[in-house]
């Protein structure tokens, strides 16, 4: 009986090497443990044995069955493995490059704008917008800019023909329409449209009639800030702008207010910064924005009583901030759209 069992198993083990598919496995299984299988045949002998012989024979038979099950289980696992491999195809070389294009990048002006806006949101400013084609009143008159101010000159400002009608900036009477020269016009629209207290930042595109060179652009981007409340002070102005500078240029950046002149603020200042961390511009005072207290005439033009309300305003150039932060020396890069530029600054 031992011999019979050994022979049956040995035959199966010898055949096992050739098993590749599930069908071959089933066939082998049938030859071994099926109704007519070789091991099944030995089992049938058990009935012919004496009571004394049975325990020993039973042990032998159980051992043989276990061996057969292990053999079949092993084969099953091998066949399953082969089936999976066939379904998945050949193994890949993980060191090959991905054929897909990388994620796109946001424009550095977008990233700069979002950083700037995030800073002012922390101080309770909300984002406001206004039209790019603007009326002369919103862009100049309401901002206390005299009728013969050079900024209004055809030399410096881009105008639209008298026949132009804008749905977004309807004009009163025969005033001219122009491409806004600053986002300060959004101050006016905000004060006219909402009730103070107000804190807004207005990002947007502005236009000057400038020939394009390394520092001039046919259009550029500003972020305007306006805070109107019962008693807004120069200390508030400095507090807001110092916070912005430190958020933007790091805690080591210093600021100073340099007196200047704008028709729509009084007093007016340019803010300079000095930072140890600006490449070759490190350690120098650099102008970054204009600011001041809202001129009482602007408040009046917008229907607010200067005795009751006061405000601070500032305007900064996004290109300027991005150029300082990234060490860019030519404003034309922002509009050339060379991906080698855009990807570097992502």
């Amino acid at each position: 009986m031992q011999d019979q069992l050994d022979r049956a198993l040995s035959e199966a083990e010898a055949a096992a090497g050739a098993v590749r598919t599930r069908a071959e496995l089933e066939a082998l299984k049938a030859r071994l443990v099926g109704p007519n299988g070789s091991l099944t045949a030995v089992t049938k002998v058990m009935g012919t044995l004496s009571k004394e012989e049975r325990p020993a024979a039973g042990k032998l038979l159980n051992a043989a069955k276990a061996r057969a099950e292990a053999l079949l289980a092993g084969l099953l696992s091998k066949v399953e493995e082969a089936e999976l491999a066939a379904a998945l195809g050949p193994e890949v070389d993980p060191t090959l490059p991905s054929p897909d294009a990388p994620a796109g990048v946001l424009h550095p002006l977008t990233r700069t704008r979002e950083r700037v806006l995030a800073t002012f949101r922390k101080l309770g400013f909300v984002v406001a917008e206004g039209p790019e084609v603007e009326t002369e009143w919103h862009c100049f008159d309401a901002l206390n800019t005299p009728a013969d101010h050079p900024a209004r000159d055809m030399q410096d400002t881009l105008y639209l023909p008298a026949s132009f009608r804008s749905a977004d900036a309807p004009r009163k009477g025969e005033e001219a329409l122009l491409l806004r020269t600053h986002t300060s016009s959004v101050q006016v629209r905000t004060m006219l449209g909402r009730k103070p207290p107000l804190r807004i930042v207005a990002p947007g595109r502005c236009f000057r009639r400038d020939a394009v060179d390394a520092t001039h652009s046919a259009n550029f981007h500003q972020v305007e800030g306006l805070w109107v409340d019962r008693s807004v002070t120069l200390a508030d102005l400095r507090g807001v702008l110092d916070f912005f500078v430190k958020e933007t240029f790091g805690p080591d950046a210093e600021t100073r207010l340099r007196p200047s002149f704008f028709p729509f603020t009084e007093p007016s200042f340019e803010m300079d910064i000095r930072s140890p961390d600006l490449g070759r511009l490190s350690g120098r005072w650099l102008e970054i924005l204009g600011c001041g207290l809202v001129d009482p005439k602007v408040l009046e033009a917008c229907g607010l009583d200067p005795a009751e309300w006061s405000g601070l305003a500032f305007g900064l150039g996004l290109e300027r901030i991005a150029m300082l932060q990234h060490g860019i020396d030519d404003i034309r890069h922002f509009y050339a759209n060379d991906l080698r530029f855009l990807r570097q600054l992502a």
């Binding site: 977008t110 881009l158 020939a211 046919a218 508030d236 007196p259 200047s260």
Partner: protein
């Protein structure tokens, strides 16, 4: 305004103060310093006086001379020189080896065409002096040989180029700048007391050189004219020439130089006429149509009544406040003078200056509202100098017509006002002290400070202006850094900003890189987008360049150009996007601003790859556009797709998106292939653009949850034969409507989706087969086969009614 440090000291004692300190101090007073340059001859080591003993022609170069030069140290040295203007015995500047000339030019022993040269003979320009005549600087007065050259010249000066803001006309005179410097340093301003007194007379007397002085133009509120006799015209003294040159003005003759020098000090322009060339009298009037005037700079200009002139009985002599005429000016032959000192209205001078394209030192000062008090001061200073330097005697008092348009101004500065604006304490006596330093008179009263602002400060009118003066002069460092309390105003953010932010992130995530193009485009390109008629409505009135004449109507042309640029740069573009404002004329004639989101994508890979990917197609762009529309809050149920025609789009390969709610529009598909090929982009370019009118762009509402069914859906397929020209979208919509009608309100038609399109073998000519999967679901029970079958029969019947054959 060029400010000479030496000239400044005529008005304020700057002992112990370095020019660099002044250059640091002025910006903090609001006077930006654009540059600091040295003027005159700076001490230069190894640059000495030498004498040309003899010279001969260079053997190998006709234009060079070989000179023997004695610098007083023994044997003459040989120096090769290219100049021609000297002779033997002339004393000239010699830069010896080791000298470093301006521009970091180091002098060494050299060989010029095989002849040794031990130094260089210098021209004025090479030494950093104003360029004189061509050639070497010939030194007069036989200075000692070997003497350091700079000992022959006045000590060098420092010139600050100061940018004066539009509100500070007073600082277009040295005295104004000096007043600021004096205030900052806490030093007094030196007194300026001309000896001459100018009496004023309302009309000319027999002593005067003119018979009448009339003002008939509103552009001139105050005109004074004074006759001087017996002037000897000649060169000005060195000190005056030096001052003028330091300020960037060319010395002319003593009379003209005096008018310029006085203007530099006071900021008040003056004009001198040759009395012999003025016939009859002087009238300040509007120019007459057709009058012409030859200006001092050699140009002849045509005048018109918008320009105010100074004329004699027969012709215009001067463009008022701008520039004098060539033939009434002072010349060497002049003996009797007329000196004009006047006030002109700033806006009138600015208009004339622009109209004639002439900007002068005089027009600059008048347009910045020169101090009326300067009329008298400048007249007296000039009278002193004319007597002293030109021997000219005043014939009598000045004829004066009109009066000063403004004078001192009183302002009440309420108590506590400065502190309230500053956000910090500002003691009244401190404020008063600061204001007095800049020449304001201050009187304390119980209500605050009574301040008298002198006429030279036309910009200080209100208490808030005094706050600026206080902060400026006291120092901005005294402004405390407040701690702003961050409140949260109950204001929504601009919806466009929020949408733009999300859209940018989404597109970048989809592999597109963001671009930024100019808003102004050329006419032909805008016409390609919206057609020539609409393009004409987007033209600017005064474009600067021919390629930036129109407002953009689409972002796609810019993006297509960026594709081309990056292809040629091998920068591997595949997808680019931009978000920005575009302009579209509407049917009502009004131009609307739209927030546009646009994408372009190359359909052919720019790089080879070991693994091929399918190319993106119209339907990839359609998916993106539909997603962006959803992000913008456009309801999918109100959107309609159709074939896009014309413009930028390739016929038959592009889709237009319309919103029945008019909250947006868009298009996607292939860009016109001929156009993109003309841009040197070989393969088709896929694009999408969504336009959202800014005026109606609204914040997206937060969605409300709707209950959904716990029961399974049932799907049924339906194939119909339709004419080739029938859009699948129309068929789907018809099937959806008929299904909804068939199942009633309880059952939702969740989707009608086209999943198979077939045309060709076995189908009738001109027809195609569209197969749809229709998904139905009941809110509260499982659907029964019978009711679904009944509904599908009705859908099939409706399709048949529409003329379509249902395929079973």
């Amino acid at each position: 305004m060029r400010v000479s440090f030496q000239s400044l000291q005529r008005h304020v004692d700057l002992a112990g103060v370095e020019p660099a300190q002044v250059a640091e101090l002025l910006p903090m007073l609001g006077l930006e310093v654009e540059s600091v340059a040295s003027f005159g001859l700076a001490p230069l080591a190894h640059v000495v006086v030498g004498e040309v003993r003899s010279f001969e022609r260079h053997p190998k170069a006709d234009r060079l001379s070989v000179c023997q030069v004695d610098v007083g140290d023994g044997a003459p040295r040989q120096i090769v020189c290219g100049a021609r203007n000297f002779k033997a015995g002339d004393r000239v500047p010699v830069a010896l080896p080791g000298a470093v000339l301006p521009g970091n030019f180091e002098i060494k022993v050299g060989r010029l065409r095989d002849v040794d040269s031990h130094g260089m003979l210098c021209s004025a320009e090479e030494l950093g002096l104003p360029a004189g005549e061509d050639g070497l600087l010939i030194l007069g007065g036989s200075p000692a040989l070997g003497a350091p050259l700079h000992t022959l010249f006045p000590p060098p000066d420092t010139v600050l180029e100061v940018a004066v803001t539009a509100n500070r006309g007073d600082c277009l005179g040295l005295r104004g700048i000096a007043r600021e410097v004096a205030a900052a340093l806490g030093r007094p301003l030196k007194p300026l007391d001309p000896r001459s007194s100018v009496g004023l007379a309302p009309a000319p007397s027999s002593q005067d050189a003119v018979g009448f002085v009339r003002v008939t133009s509103p552009a001139c509120p105050w005109y004074t004219l004074r006759t001087f006799r017996g002037a000897k015209v000649g060169p000005s003294p060195d000190w005056m020439r030096r001052d003028l040159e330091a300020a960037g003005l060319r010395p002319v003759n003593n009379v003209v130089d005096i008018t310029n020098w006085v203007m530099l000090q006071t900021g008040q322009p003056l004009h001198a006429f040759d009395a012999a060339k003025v016939s009859g009298g002087v009238e300040v009037r509007a120019a007459r149509e057709g009058e012409r005037l030859a200006l001092l700079d050699g140009r002849e200009v045509a005048l018109d009544p918008s320009v105010c002139v100074i004329a004699d009985a027969s012709r215009p002599l001067v463009v008022a406040g701008v520039m004098g005429g060539a033939d009434s000016g002072v010349s060497d032959a002049t003996a009797d003078l007329l000196l004009e000192v006047a006030c002109f209205v700033p806006s009138e001078v600015r208009r004339a200056s622009r109209r004639l394209g002439v900007s002068t030192d005089s027009s600059l000062r008048f347009t910045r509202d020169a101090d009326p008090a300067g009329v008298e001061l400048a007249g007296r200073l000039a009278a002193d100098l004319l007597a002293e330097l030109a021997g000219a005697r005043p014939a009598g008092p000045a004829v004066s017509v009109g009066k000063a348009p403004r004078a001192e101004r009183a302002i009440r500065l309420p108590q506590g006002f400065v502190a309230a604006k500053l956000g910090a304490p500002a003691p009244e006596d401190q404020v008063a002290g600061v204001l007095r330093r800049i020449g304001f008179q201050v009187q304390a009263s119980p209500a605050g400070l009574d301040v008298v602002v002198p006429s030279f400060r036309s910009d200080v009118e209100r208490p808030i202006d005094l706050v600026e003066e206080y902060v400026r002069v006291h120092g901005t460092a005294s402004v405390p850094v407040g701690r702003p309390v961050a409140t949260a105003p109950l204001e929504p953010e601009a919806p466009a900003a929020a949408f733009a932010r999300e859209a940018a992130l989404r597109l970048a995530g989809a592999g597109a890189s963001e671009c930024c193009h100019y808003s102004l485009r050329e006419a032909a390109e805008v016409a390609r987008v919206v057609g020539p008629e609409a393009a004409a409505r987007l033209a600017l009135e005064n474009p600067l360049t021919a390629d930036q004449t129109h407002l953009r109507a689409s972002l796609l042309p810019g993006l297509a150009q960026a594709l081309r640029l990056n292809l040629s740069a091998h920068a591997d573009p595949s997808r680019l996007f931009e978000i920005g404002t575009v302009f579209r004329p509407g049917p009502d004639g009004q131009v609307r601003e739209h927030l546009a989101v646009a994408l372009v994508a190359l359909t052919e890979p720019t790089r080879r790859s070991w693994l091929a990917r399918p190319s993106p197609d119209l339907f990839a762009a359609k998916r993106l556009l539909a997603d962006l529309a959803a992000l913008a809050g456009l309801a999918a149920s109100r959107l309609a797709w159709s074939a896009a025609e014309g413009g930028l789009w390739q016929r038959g390969h592009a889709a237009a998106l319309a919103d029945r709610g008019r909250a947006g529009e868009g298009a996607c598909g292939l860009l016109d292939l001929r156009w993109t090929r003309s841009l040197d982009i070989a393969g088709p370019v896929l694009a999408a653009e969504l336009l959202l009118p800014r005026a109606t762009l609204a914040a997206r509402k937060l969605p409300r949850l709707e209950a959904f069914s716990a029961f399974p859906p049932v799907t049924r397929d339906l194939a119909v034969l339709v004419p080739l020209a029938t859009p699948a979208g129309d068929v789907a919509e018809r099937l959806r409507q008929s299904a909804a009608k068939a199942v009633g309100k309880e059952i939702a038609v969740e989707a009608v989706t086209c999943f198979d399109v077939f045309a060709g073998a076995g189908l009738p000519e001109g027809q195609r087969s569209l197969a749809f999967e229709i998904t139905l679901r009941h809110a509260s029970r499982t659907l029964a086969d019978a009711e679904v079958a009944a509904a599908m029969d009705q859908v099939a019947a409706a399709a048949g009614k529409a003329g379509w054959t249902v395929r079973r």
